[in-house]
């Protein structure tokens, strides 16, 4: 499906990442946003509040993040594409409902503009330390998809991707900005509406009375319905059977939860988005994401200037982790360097997957600013020694 032109502000704009994210949501067909203000994400919803009335969307500032994170799910089950927007402390409050979205298989988008943490931390400065939380922050087993834009342009592009992935896999998708990207203003080119590909919601073809909400027929992802169409369907956060009814035993659990987990794990290669450069004959690959990927590029060029063979892999999706790709590169003997604005989060995955076959080095940073490229450069040199 192509984007609805009503929401698409075609042209070249000078926008910050937060505003670009708003435009991405509009282009993606999002027409329901519930949010609660928090620095540095607030600009997303402020722009939405201004833009929505004219395009038939509904923005509501809820009483808190908990309410926001479930209001969007109500909206989805009424047929909307919906998202909520927050930052660290608010993200922590949304954890229960990320689990609910995973369990109900509600397609929806959670935007987290990461700031310095933990706790109130550094509200106006960047961090990348909510990456593990994005994957593991709710109780129980589930999987999510997480995108990491590194520019306002990508905030636009990946917001659309996030909505599309949410529909395709019926999964909560995390859009993990960081303060630096969210508050950075650059040129953003928004294409014509008919150049924007939108994943339509897959509604059931079943007649009222015949629809089983979690009947998969061997597919990973069951089709949806919406309230008001006469299906009299039921949704519960309890472990449920195909009918969506609670069933309290280990077999139902295995059937219900394993599919939720596996629909992402088994499709990981189709979901993963990477941007790679000069990987093929590289001795070292710098793996990074978000704002850090730009700083890493600077460090890479410093190293390349000295003749070191460095490639770059950027995690456009951080979750699922590109396990197969990294493993293949490790098998080729490439070393890895990974800078992050945290004390080692995605790096743990890198280390796990590399399995000690080659060297992998973390370049930690507590956040509050970005890395000094010099520091990354030095790790690159260390990696090739």
């Amino acid at each position: 499906m192509k984007a609805d032109p009503k929401g698409v502000m075609t042209g070249a704009h000078f926008l910050d990442g937060d505003h670009a994210c708003c435009e991405g949501a509009l282009a993606a067909g999002c027409r329901f946003v519930a949010g609660y203000p928090i620095t540095p994400s607030t600009e997303v919803v402020e722009r939405i509040a201004a833009r929505f009335p004219a395009v038939g969307g509904m923005f509501i500032q809820m009483e808190d993040e908990i309410a926001s994170s479930i209001a969007i799910q109500g909206a989805v089950w009424a047929g909307a594409k919906a998202m909520t927007v927050t930052s660290g402390p608010g993200f922590s409050l949304m954890m229960e409902h990320i689990g609910l979205a995973a369990m109900l298989e509600t397609p929806c988008v959670f935007v987290n503009v990461q700031r310095g943490g933990p706790s109130t931390g550094l509200p106006t400065l960047p961090g990348q330390a909510d990456m593990m939380q994005a994957r593991w922050g709710s109780h129980g087993d589930y999987e999510v998809i997480a995108f990491c834009p590194n520019s306002p342009q990508e905030c636009f592009d990946l917001t659309i991707e996030a909505f599309n992935m949410a529909e395709i896999y019926r999964v909560p998708v995390m859009l993990m900005l960081d303060e630096c990207v969210g508050h950075m203003t650059e040129k953003v080119v928004i294409p014509e509406a008919d150049a924007i590909e939108i994943a339509e919601r897959r509604f059931t073809g079943a007649k009222p009375g015949e629809y089983l909400p979690y009947e998969t027929n061997g597919n990973w992802v069951p089709p949806m319905v919406k309230a008001g169409d006469g299906h009299y369907f039921h949704m519960t956060g309890l472990t449920h059977d195909e009918r969506g009814y609670p069933v309290m035993n280990a077999e139902a659990q295995e059937k219900c939860v394993h599919r939720i987990v596996n629909k992402i794990r088994e499709n990981a290669d189709a979901i993963v988005r990477l941007r790679e450069a000069e990987i093929e004959d590289a001795d070292v690959v710098v793996v990074s994401y978000g704002i850090t990927s730009r700083v890493a590029l600077k460090a890479i060029s410093m190293a390349q200037a000295e003749g070191i063979k460095v490639g770059h892999m950027r995690l456009v999706t951080a979750w699922p982790f590109p396990e197969n790709r990294i493993r293949r590169l490790a098998d080729q003997g490439k070393a890895f360097v990974m800078p992050e604005l945290n004390y080692g989060q995605m790096y743990l995955e890198l280390e796990r997957v590399v399995q000690g076959r080659t060297r992998s080095l973390l370049v930690p940073h507590g956040g509050g600013t970005v890395h000094d490229p010099e520091v990354i450069y030095r790790k690159i040199k260390e990696a090739v020694q």
Partner: protein
């Protein structure tokens, strides 16, 4: 070096950020350069020195922050004092000359001053001093074209205020051209 690092500064309420946005927009949208703007946010900035940082470049901007501004625009004394030490030795320094007393410049630096507040007041709205500064800035730095900057001003100000703002821009621009 193809990248120019610029700092726009003043105190909260002077429209410092908007000045940076206009300039960035002119460079990136109308002059087709790469421009990356970042800002100092935060509670600690309420009512004190505030700044926008802009990098204008022929190539894609990677590192997002300005570390050593080659151009400093200062609209308050506090901002001038705070940010001058960060600039390069041959920086261009652009000030609102009635609000800032420029002391401590290094020999290689170039200083341009304009009584932007007064000009804005003459035009009837003190609040548009930032647009006067943008005009002036455009003229003395030549970093973006006159037309580009003008277009960017039009895009960036509230609807209905374009005429007055363009007047302010032109006054600043002329003042700069005459100085040069």
């Amino acid at each position: 070096m193809s990248a120019t690092e610029i700092k726009f500064s003043g105190f909260g309420g002077q429209g410092v950020i908007l000045a940076g946005i206009i300039f960035g927009r002119a460079a990136s949208i109308y002059d087709n350069k790469f421009a990356t703007l970042t800002q100092s946010f935060g509670p600690e900035a309420r009512g004190s020195a505030c700044s926008a940082q802009l990098i204008v470049s022929e190539d894609q901007v990677l590192y997002p922050y300005v570390t050593r501004p080659q151009i400093l625009m200062a609209m308050s004394q506090e901002a001038f004092n705070k940010f001058l030490p960060e600039t390069t030795d041959d920086a261009t320094v652009i000030i609102e000359e009635e609000l800032v007393k420029a002391t401590g410049l290094k020999p290689g630096m170039k200083l341009y001053g304009i009584p932007a507040t007064r000009i804005a007041e003459e035009l009837g709205r003190k609040m548009i001093l930032n647009i006067v500064m943008v005009g002036f800035f455009t003229a003395v730095t030549g970093l973006v074209g006159y037309e580009s900057a003008r277009e960017a001003v039009k895009d960036s100000v509230p609807q209905g205020t374009e005429v007055m703002n363009l007047k302010a821009f032109d006054r600043g621009y002329q003042y700069g051209k005459e100085l040069k």
